[in-house]
Amino acid sequence: MVIKVENLVKEFKEIRALDSFNLELKEGEILGLIGPNGSGKTTLLLSILGIYSFEKGDIKVFGQELKPNSYDIKRKIGYIPQDLALFDELTVYENIDYFCGLYVHDTKKRKELVKKAIQFVGLEKFEKFVPSKLSGGLARRLNIACGIAHEPELIFLDEPTVAVDAQSRNFILEGIKELNRQGASVIYTSHYLDEVEDLCDRIAIIDQGRNIITGTNEELRDSIITTEIIKFTLLEENADILKDLRNLSHVIDVTIKNSEYTVKFDNPNTNIGDIVEFIKDKGLTYLKLYTDVPSLTDVFIELTGKELRD
C-alpha cells in the first residue's frame, strides 16, 4: 500500500474539514478524488504530505509516518499544487532545475532529469521563457514539470487542468497516464468528472470532509439505485405527463430540463420499450429518444444530493 489513511479527523477551529476519513492508494494505481469546493480534497492532500497537523487518525506513506525529516520518503513524492508554484524571475529551465535540485543533488543527473522533464511536457521551445511569457496551458505544464522532474514514485496532482485549454488538457492527461505507465502511483483531484472517469483506476467521492465511497467506475455505478437513464424530447412539450411517468413501474425519478425528459429506473433490465409504449399511449411523438447507463455525475448527484460545480 502506498498510502493508508485511517479515521483521519482534521479541524479548523469549529469546522471539521475531514471527518473519520479513510483512504488507500495501491501501488501503480491512479486514484481520483472528486468533490465540490471546500469538500476537503486539498486538506486531505496537505495532511498526507505532512503540511497540516491533524486531530485524530493515522496516515502512512510507503508504510511509514511522514515526519518533517522523513527525507527518504519525501524524495519519492512529487507534488503539483493547484496554483502555479513558479518563480516569475526564473526561466522554464531554471524553474524546473530549482525544484528538481531540492531532491536531486548530483548536478549531472539533475541536468538530464530537467531536460527529460522539459521534453515530457513539450516545452523544448520555451526553455528560456519566463512563466509570464507562457500561455495558461503552457504554464500549467511547467507547473507539472517542476513536480515530476525528479521522477517520483508517488505523485499528487491537485486540480492540474483548471483553466486550461482543451489541447493542453489532453496533453496533461496523456502525460499523467504515461507517468503511471512508467510506474508512478497517482492521486488526482479534479472538478471534471469526465476526466476523472477516463483517467482514474479508482475514484473517491468526497463531500463535507467525508469519503462517501471509493471504487472503480463500475463499483460506483453499482452502488447507486439508478440502473438506467432514458432521455427523450417530444414534438410538443407536455408537462402533464410527468406525474404519469413517475407512476410507471421501476421509475425512481423524472425531471425535465431544456425540453428534455430524463427518466431514471432501478430495474436492471432495459426499460426503453415501456417508455416508447407510454409515449404512443399518450398520443405523443418523440423527436429523440435514447438510453444510457448512469454516469459519474449521476453517481455523484445520487450519493451527495448535489451537483458538482465546474
Binding site: Y52, S53, K74, Y79, P81, F87, E89, Y98, L102
Partner: protein
C-alpha cells in the same frame, strides 16, 4: 558546491527581479549618499581642534574623575604618575550646572561633567566621545574598588591630530550602517517560500526532501554574498565618484561589517516569518530600518542628541546606532574599546532572531 552556487544564483535572480528591492537596496542609498555628499561634503572636512578640549566640571566632580568620588582609600597623589594627566586632552574649569549649560549653548565648552559624573553635551565629537569613555572607565574603577592606577592614563584616544570627525559623519556612517542591514530585504522573503500560508511556492518547497534549515542557509549565504558585493560597490562609488573616504583599510572593519550583515539578515528573516502578509513584511522592514537609522542620526544629528539625553537606552539597544558608533571609532578614531562588545551584541541579537524564525518555519500548520 556547484549546487549551492546554482541556488545562490537563483536566489539573486529572484531577488533582483523585484524592482522595488532594487530601488531600496541600490538606488536609494546611492541617491542618499550623493545628496548628502553634495549638501555636506564641505562641512565634513573642517579641522577638529584637538588642542586641549575644553570641558567644565562640577567642583565636586572633576577630581573624582581621577580619584573617584568619595573613595574609601585616597590614592597617594605623590606616587601617582601625573605625566599622563598632564598629557590629558582636556582643559577643565569648575562651573555650576547653570553656568555650564549657558557655556554649552554659547559653544564655549565641549562638555560638562556633573557632580554625579553624568556628562552633558550639546553636540557630538571626539572630545565628547573621549569624555564619555573616561567617565565610564572611572565609574567602573569605582564600582570594582580598584586602585586609581587601574585607569589607563596612557591610552591614545586619538592617533594623530590630523584625524577629522564631525557630526556630519554620524549621518554618513548611519547610512552605511543602514546599508549593512539591507540583507533584511532579501531574507524577509525567505519565510514566504518556506512557511505555508497561501503561497504555492512555499507549499512546494515544504514537501521537498531538502530540509528547511538548509534552504534558509542557502538563502542566507546568497544574502551575504549579495550584500558584500553591494557594500563594495557603494564604497567604490563613495571613494571614486563622490571622492569621500569613510573607510580605512582596517581589518577590524571585517568582523564588524560581517556581524552587521548577519544581524540584518536575521532581522529580515524574523520579520518575514513573524508577519504573515507579504506587503506588510516589506513595509515593516523599510520602516524599521529607517526608524533605527533615524534614531541613530541619519536624518539629523539633533535627533541623536535628543535620544542620547532623554532615552540613552534606546541608543544602547539600537543596532544601527551601535554599528554607526563602531564604524566611526574604527575608521576615524582607531578605537576598538567597545568593538568586541558590539559584535557580540549583534551576534546575540541575530541568534535570538534566527532561533525564533526557525521555530516559526519548522512549525506545522494547525
Amino acid at each position: 558546491m556547484m549546487r549551492i552556487l546554482t541556488y545562490i544564483k537563483y536566489e539573486l535572480k529572484v531577488f533582483l527581479g523585484n524592482y522595488s528591492n532594487m530601488f531600496w537596496m541600490i538606488a536609494f542609498p546611492i541617491l542618499l549618499l550623493t545628496i548628502l555628499t553634495v549638501a555636506f561634503s564641505n562641512l565634513r572636512f573642517q579641522e577638529f581642534k584637538l588642542e586641549k578640549a575644553s570641558i567644565a566640571y562640577h567642583e565636586e566632580a572633576f577630581m573624582p574623575l581621577y580619584f573617584v568620588e568619595a573613595p574609601k582609600e585616597l590614592p597617594n597623589i605623590e606616587t601617582l604618575d601625573k605625566s599622563s594627566m598632564e598629557n590629558s586632552l582636556f582643559k577643565g574649569r569648575a562651573m555650576t550646572k547653570n553656568q555650564a549649560l549657558d557655556a554649552l549653548k554659547k559653544d564655549e565648552i565641549d562638555a560638562y561633567v556633573d557632580k554625579d559624573l553624568s556628562l552633558v553635551i550639546s553636540k557630538n565629537g571626539i572630545s565628547q566621545i573621549m569624555m564619555d569613555e573616561i567617565i565610564t572607565a572611572t565609574k567602573q574603577i569605582k564600582s570594582l574598588n580598584l586602585p586609581l592606577t587601574a585607569f589607563d592614563f596612557n591610552r591614545n584616544y586619538v592617533e594623530n591630530s590630523g584625524q577629522k570627525y564631525s557630526p556630519i559623519d554620524v549621518i554618513f556612517y548611519s547610512l552605511f550602517s543602514m546599508i549593512s542591514l539591507y540583507g533584511a530585504y532579501l531574507s524577509g522573503s525567505i519565510g514566504n517560500r518556506l512557511i505555508v500560508r497561501g503561497q504555492a511556492v512555499a507549499l512546494r518547497n515544504a514537501v521537498t526532501s531538502t530540509s528547511k534549515l538548509r534552504q534558509v542557509l542557502i538563502s542566507v549565504a546568497a544574502g551575504i554574498l549579495w550584500l558584500l558585493l553591494m557594500i563594495s560597490t557603494i564604497i567604490i562609488y563613495t571613494a571614486f565618484i563622490l571622492k569621500q573616504n569613510f573607510f580605512s583599510p582596517d581589518i577590524k572593519n571585517i568582523p564588524l561589517v560581517l556581524s552587521a550583515l548577519i544581524f540584518g539578515i536575521a532581522w529580515g528573516l524574523f520579520l518575514g516569518t513573524v508577519i504573515k502578509k507579504e506587503s506588510l513584511q516589506t513595509t515593516a522592514i523599510i520602516i524599521s530600518l529607517l526608524l533605527m537609522s533615524g534614531l541613530s542620526g541619519l536624518f539629523s544629528h539633533d535627533i541623536r542628541l535628543l535620544i542620547q539625553r532623554s532615552f540613552p537606552l534606546l541608543l544602547k539597544m539600537n543596532p544601527v546606532a551601535k554599528i554607526t558608533d563602531e564604524l566611526i571609532k574604527v575608521n576615524m578614531l582607531g578605537n576598538y574599546s567597545t568593538l568586541n562588545t558590539t559584535i557580540m551584541l549583534l551576534l546575540g541579537y541575530s541568534i535570538v532572531l534566527i532561533g525564533i524564525s526557525i521555530l516559526h518555519i519548522r512549525r506545522k500548520k494547525a
